[in-house]
């Protein structure tokens, strides 16, 4: 750390910066292994080394960005020269000048916080864990044509040094195991999956019950074969905590990212202090909760993370901020600037997003919905924040008839409008669970996130069955 920080400092000092100019150097060291077992065979066992340096320059209000695969001082100087030149060349095209506030300077170190470092685990033990899960999926039902188990561990270190004095050294670990089953009978093909993902170490896998996880995934895929076709139209629904996680991420989280708000590409622009949902709806994003997949102590600009209250009792409260977006909005940076690796710039995005619990039981939610559908587990979704229209998918559903859970339905997707959806919530359960460990995609970058909440009932959601 000392050596690289000193090197970054020397690079930064070689560039004469005027008032309001800014540069930073971010060293990135990523190591990953991944194992994929399919139908009893080792489909892929791989190792990835992702190492390089990201260099940003804000000169005369314009940004330049460059990278180097090297940590050598000479190469860093060349890359910074490129970033500065790129910024200078863009100055005539910029509108509102880029700014970075000089009052937020962070120093800190967050070493890897795991009980068992996945890099210390023998390959054969990793393969064994994946094989065990895959085997348990496969044996559930002979209609399962594909059983698949994936296991991945990633250890990343970022050392961030900037011209304002920030010096931060952080390490993160992400472990994820996923099971997937595809069942087929005649022309009907159905799929079910589940995953566990954390920012903890190999203990994630040690605590897993592969027999139970495998059995559940396999059983769900087999059951979906004979499930009903999903319904179609506007209806009331209940979402399970995993689906709530995806729903709040897509329906609301992306639109609350300050870069979209500032560029007039979010329907939540100008909504701070205004009502966006019913009383009782509170949306939190907290990357400081230890162990969740979307947890990280400092962001990729070196800002210390904190709990963010995005919506407080139905009122829009804050956006996801980077150093620059916070300065432009007169807000505080809240540690939301994340970069996938050294080839990408940090951008505002989510961590662990959830809806706070209410006071209704699951049975009460069913009574509230009366006629509709209960949807379970998600494959993900996407949103167009500029017009506030989002889409997300459920792996399976159950009809709700006369306030009771009825027969199972196959996978289906939903669509809604950001500015309507939190106002259409008609019931909030009390059983909060961070049930969706996922990967978020934005502007070409992916980031580990999680989402969740309690069971939630909403009215007038468009369900796209057939």
């Amino acid at each position: 750390m000392e050596d690289l920080v000193d090197r970054a400092r020397r690079v930064i000092e070689r560039f004469t910066l005027k008032k309001d100019d800014f540069v930073d150097v971010r060293f990135f060291l990523g190591e990953a292994t991944a194992i994929n077992i399919r139908n009893g065979a080792a489909e892929q066992v791989s190792s990835e080394s992702n190492i390089g340096t990201a260099l940003r320059a804000l000169v005369g209000g314009a940004w330049g960005f460059s990278t180097s695969k090297s940590f050598e001082e000479k190469d860093l100087l060349d890359a910074m020269e490129t970033a500065v030149s790129a910024a200078r060349a863009m100055q005539k095209h910029i509108g509102e000048k880029g700014i970075v506030p000089d009052k937020y300077v962070y120093e800190g170190s967050a070493p890897l916080k795991v009980h068992v470092d996945p890099r210390e685990i023998a390959l054969e033990d990793k393969i064994k864990a994946a094989v065990e899960l895959e085997k348990n999926i496969r044996k559930v039902d002979e209609r399962i044509k594909v059983s698949q188990a994936g296991l991945a561990d990633i250890v990343q270190r970022e050392i961030i040094v900037n011209s304002l004095g920030t010096e931060v050294d952080i390490s993160n670990c992400y472990v994820r195991v996923a099971g997937n089953a595809t069942a087929r009978e005649g022309v009907v093909i159905q799929n079910a999956s589940d995953s566990v993902g954390t920012s903890r170490g190999w203990e994630t896998i040690e605590e897993l019950d592969p027999a139970e996880m495998g059995r559940k995934v396999g059983s769900r895929a087999a059951a979906l074969i004979s499930a009903l076709s999903p319904p179609s139209g506007r209806m009331n629904l209940i979402m399970d905590p995993g689906l709530v996680g995806v729903f709040i991420h897509e329906a609301f989280g992306h639109a609350a990212e300050a870069d979209g708000v500032l560029s007039n590409m979010s329907v939540l622009a100008g909504k701070i202090g205004k009502r966006v949902g019913v009383l009782g709806v509170t949306v939190i994003d907290d990357p400081t909760i230890e162990g969740l997949r979307g947890s990280f102590p400092y962001d990729s600009e070196g800002t210390k993370t904190r709990r963010r209250v995005i919506v407080k009792d139905g009122i829009m409260n804050e956006y996801y901020q980077s150093l620059e977006t916070a300065a432009k909005m007169g807000a505080e940076p809240n540690g939301a600037a994340r970069a996938m690796d050294f080839n990408w710039k940090p951008i505002p995005r989510m961590g662990n997003t959830f809806i706070e619990g209410g006071d209704m039981s699951f049975e009460e939610l069913c009574q509230e919905v009366k006629e509709g559908i209960y949807l379970v587990k998600s494959y993900g979704g996407y949103v167009n924040s500029a017009i506030g229209q989002f889409y997300f998918t459920a792996q399976e559903g159950y009809l709700v008839k006369n306030g009771r859970i009825g027969p199972m339905t196959q996978n289906v997707s939903m669509s809604g409008l950001t500015l309507e959806v939190l106002s259409n919530i008609i019931g909030i359960g009390k059983d909060v669970k961070m049930a969706f460990p996922g990967t978020c995609g934005k502007a070409g970058q992916s980031a580990p996130v999680s989402g969740g909440g309690p069971h939630l009932a909403a009215a007038n959601v468009v369900v796209g069955g057939r």
């Binding site: 990953a32 065979a41 080792a42 489909e43 892929q44 066992v45 791989s46 190792s47 990835e48 080394s49 314009a62 940004w63 330049g64 960005f65 460059s66 990278t67 695969k69 090297s70 490129t82 790129a86 060349a89 863009m90 095209h93 910029i94 509108g95 509102e96 880029g98 023998a122 390959l123 054969e124 044509k145 087929r184 022309v187 009907v188 093909i189 159905q190 799929n191 076709s229 999903p230 179609s232 506007r234 500032l262 560029s263 007039n264 590409m265 329907v267 080839n343 494959y379 500029a386 017009i387 889409y391 289906v412 997707s413 669509s415 809604g416 409008l417 468009v462 796209g464 069955g465 057939r466």
Partner: protein, 445 residues
């Protein structure tokens, strides 16, 4: 690093892998010069100038595969050692036969354009800004977008003698134009894609984005019901790419999860429907003389007159299915093993004009820039209409919002009841607009 250097580095890597006692070795090196320009609120915020890429290695010991990648070519030997050790600790895959053997390659025109490669980031920015200005023809418009120019050299070398080198240019991105008027919002987005400087037409893209934004003002919810879906050129191409990509991929066929796996020779689409995949399409974004394993590309007739004719394979799934390797391997990343993927689809045209097709539609939704695809390998299609219009009695009535379409992959192909004469040739694919009867439209009314 120049082409000759990456070829030499890949050769050395293969030799090193063999010296460790691997049975088969493949080294793939990509060296990419990338410029990215970002526009927010109608102005450029900055630019990125990047050297990206690295090396991917596959080592086989018997049928056991170890794979590794590194961003640093200086660490290629370490990556090869890692791949070798992973292979040593991995159970053999009984289906693995062999990496591809050397073949002669045909050339493909239009993959590299010197003029596009020579554009500086200042010149790219100047030209892109002309498009941004065109996307905001009057007050009330906000423009966002991004542009990426890539100059890439890559090499695939394996221990059986394959040596494949390529050099490519590409330009890609989009211009998004948003208009706000009387509390209403319309958003239009237009892609930029190509391999040649002639295809870089930002003014055309910006103007079209603004037109689209205006046309989406006044979007309304629709009633739920059975009706037709009219897919514009891009929606048709995107949907067919997705549906056929799942159905004819040797991966899904081998696993028994393709909806087309037992349909060879059967009627799977309407009789007027034919499609070929042609990796030799000049200037196609996925065109190439060889695939990501160095196997020669082949043109494949996929569906002819509605009858399923072929699947696509890579070396692994060709061996597993016992059918020829069509050279469709595509590696999702340098680390991951390739899978069979479509390159450039060319869909037969019909006899309709688009406006005739709409005027003959009693009730339906016209999709623009949307995509009807299943979730994973499921046979159910449940997709959002990202941009579209409600059609009634042959007239486009209004843009729609909060609308979903539900059907199945079978019905999507079999219920194509009209295709246009005119086609869109873009990015190496060709597609008409088409109409699918009897889809379930779910609306918010």
């Amino acid at each position: 690093m120049k082409m000759v250097d990456i070829l030499s580095a890949a050769r050395k890597g293969v030799e090193y892998g063999l010296s460790l006692n691997a049975n088969q070795v493949e080294v793939c090196i990509a060296n990419r010069n990338q410029i990215r320009i970002e526009v927010k609120k109608s102005r450029i915020t900055g630019s990125d100038i990047l050297e990206v890429g690295g090396a991917g290695v596959r080592c086989y010991i018997g049928g056991a595969l170890g794979a590794a990648s590194t961003t640093r070519l200086t660490e290629l030997e370490e990556a090869i050692e890692k791949a070798y050790h992973l292979a040593k600790g991995t159970p053999a895959d009984p289906y693995f036969k062999s990496l591809p053997r050397p073949s002669k390659y045909r050339s493909v025109k239009g993959l590299y354009d010197k003029k596009l490669a020579a554009l500086t980031f200042e010149e790219l920015a100047e030209r892109f800004m002309e498009g941004v200005e065109a996307a905001a023809p009057e007050n009330g418009f906000t423009v966002s977008g991004g542009l990426t120019r890539i100059v890439e050299e890559s090499a695939v070398v394996n221990s059986l003698g394959v040596e494949a080198l390529s050099r490519q240019t590409s330009i890609s991105g989009s211009i998004g134009s948003k208009i706000e008027r009387d509390g209403d919002t319309g958003l239009g987005r237009e892609p930029i894609m190509g391999r040649d400087i002639e295809e870089f037409e930002p003014i055309k893209a910006g103007s079209r984005a603004a037109e689209k934004a205006r046309s989406y003002l006044g979007a309304k919810k629709v009633m739920t019901g059975m009706m037709s879906a009219v897919l514009d050129f891009r929606s048709a191409r995107n949907s067919l790419y997705g549906v056929l990509g799942l159905g004819v991929s040797g991966l899904n066929v081998a696993l028994g999860t393709s909806f087309l796996s037992d349909k060879m020779g059967a009627q799977v689409a309407s009789r007027s429907f034919s499609v070929v995949d042609d990796p030799y399409t000049p200037g196609g974004l996925n065109s190439r003389p060889f695939d990501d394993e160095g196997a020669p590309s082949t043109k494949v007739r996929i569906i002819e007159g509605g009858i399923l004719k072929s699947f696509i394979t890579d070396s692994y799934f060709a061996g597993r299915l016992g059918i020829p390797n069509t050279g469709h391997a595509r590696r999702p990343s340098l680390t991951l093993k390739p899978v069979p993927s479509l390159t450039g689809i060319h869909v037969s045209s019909g006899n309709w004009k688009l406006d005739e097709l709409i005027s003959e539609t009693e009730k339906g939704v016209l999709l623009e820039d949307s995509r009807l695809v299943p979730q994973g390998v499921s046979t159910n299609v449940s997709s959002s209409v990202d941009f579209g219009f409600y059609v009634e009695k042959g007239e486009v009535v209004h843009p729609v919002k909060n609308t979903m379409i539900g059907t199945t992959v079978f019905d999507l192909l079999l219920n194509i009841d009209a295709m246009t004469r005119e086609t869109l040739r873009e990015g190496g694919s060709t597609s008409p607009a088409l109409r699918i009867s009897n889809v379930r439209v779910a609306g918010g009314l």
